[in-house]
Symmetry: C2
Subunit: 303 residues, 2 copies
């Protein structure tokens, strides 16, 4: 069973025992960096900015940005609090592109939510924004990096910042009008960076991306909507974590992207060390670094 | 129903009517380019180099390279012809990474296949190789592009070429030894370019990537193998298209990456035009350009 695994080193829970001296000098493997992460390097998502979305085949947890796109974040919180998405559907699901959900028929009352939103594709850089640079070229931004767990682009010259369309980005769709987003959301199934600054990303899936990938695709019509409504995937419920009964909450923790260990992780992913790798690329694609997320270890139990 | 679609323009089957003069001068939308593609721009995959792999929930079609990694291609053809994969499983399926299949127990007789293969991570550039350049920076290769439908990297200075780990790449796994690949294959679920030149890619999924994305993930053990064997996904059969009964064949066609229209498609994806887009990036990630694949239109029927 030990043969034929690719990247098994990255998954091993125990790093090889190496001398302290060598550890400090040599580039680290991903497994070694993950071993270094202490409890302080893991943070729980803000329950007021976390959505628990249930579909028949599982749970999707989405964290909303506390830094950017406040209008979109407030809108989706209002919709979720008022139960808007309950009983609606994923109705436009295109493999390799997006899973789009909401009210295909555009008939449901939006309650106190806005009929349309001012675009927040990119924004002036907020004072004191925590931005951890990726540290190499990015094709879609002058500088790429991470803002409190979210992949992002920044243009310091233009005083502008935005969240990036990596896999699991959470955003609102729109029609051709700039300010036409309102209720319909999508989750990217693959990186779609060309959409950066063309739509407003304001969150990301941190748990259950496998559930998103398993949402039924179905046969699309010309606009991409799944023709047969029986192939739509219902949204059973969407709730803010702060409104979810405690016994249904997962004790999720995200690696703190402002930590030193996350900087080490960037380096360990930029050049993959360890016996498995014959070539290092000295390059890291922004969307290649998936945010480490874990269930908080139970005290007294080993991980 | 017309609201809230993202990228609907890319899917629309009818390009806006525009004057011939403007068409020649202005950058084209993806839809306009797809309209330009004539029958000669679509080619059927070589049935001797195409695998039909059936799992309980659908069909996966993999095209093998006719240009690179001949040792690996010959090995998998031998294994497929001798029915090696029939009844084996996808047993290591990690969301966002790979779906790995074969014989987890390493017990099945390999028949006339080799016990291990000489690595073909990269190779000297073959005489007359058709290489269509992507035309912008790539972080993982001096030059990125396409070789007869496959995303690839090339290093002309080192006289070296290789297929790239974009989504749907088909490759053999190995242990830490360079020449240890043999039977176990993986399909990438997301781009994994850091594996380029570290493993041998020798094909890609051209149909049924939605089926691959829906393969059950399950709970992994430390090496990533799905702990509960009941959660493995069986490979019902794997056959070369040339051995598949005609009534079971799909009339698949891939866009010819050596065609002028494919060059136009690269440009249309590098800068997304059309009313929907407010920002063009003048950049295209290699893995962002999914190879257009279609079912050959039936004569007399509109698409």
């Amino acid at each position: 069973m030990k043969r034929f695994f690719i990247g098994a080193a990255a998954l091993a829970m125990t790093a090889p025992a190496i001398a302290q001296e060598a550890e400090e000098a040599a580039p680290k493997t991903v497994a070694e960096v993950m071993e270094m992460a202490g409890d302080a390097d893991w943070i729980a998502p803000n329950p007021d900015s976390t959505i628990y979305m249930r579909v028949p085949h599982g749970l999707i947890v989405i964290v909303l940005s506390d830094d950017l796109a406040p209008g979109h974040v407030e809108q989706v919180k209002t919709l979720v609090r008022e139960g808007y998405y309950d009983g609606l559907n994923f109705y436009r699901v295109i493999d390799g592109f997006v899973a789009q959900g909401g009210d295909a028929a555009e008939e449901k009352d939006k309650g106190s939510a806005a009929a349309s939103l001012v675009a927040e594709y990119e924004e002036p850089i907020p004072d004191g924004l925590a931005f951890t640079p990726l540290g190499n070229f990015d094709g879609y931004a002058p500088e790429a990096g991470f803002i409190n767990g979210m992949p992002a682009g920044i243009d310091r010259e233009r005083d502008s910042v935005w969240l990036a369309h990596c896999t699991g980005a959470f955003a609102f769709g729109r029609n051709n009008e700039r300010d036409s987003a309102s209720t319909e959301f999508y989750i990217t199934l693959q990186p779609q960076r060309y959409l950066d600054r063309n739509l407003t990303v304001f969150g990301r899936v941190i748990w259950g991306m496998d559930v998103v990938q398993a949402i039924k695709r179905g046969r699309p019509n010309n606009g991409g909507v799944i023709e047969n409504e029986e192939d739509w995937t219902p949204i059973l419920s969407a709730r803010l974590a702060s409104d979810v009964p405690e016994e249904e909450l997962l004790d999720l923790q995200m690696m703190d992207t402002n930590s030193d260990v996350f900087l080490e992780l960037i380096e360990a992913r930029r050049n993959r060390m360890g016996e498995f790798f014959y070539v290092q690329h000295d390059y890291l694609d922004l969307c290649q670094l998936q945010l480490p997320v874990r269930l908080k270890p139970v005290e007294g139990e080993s991980e």
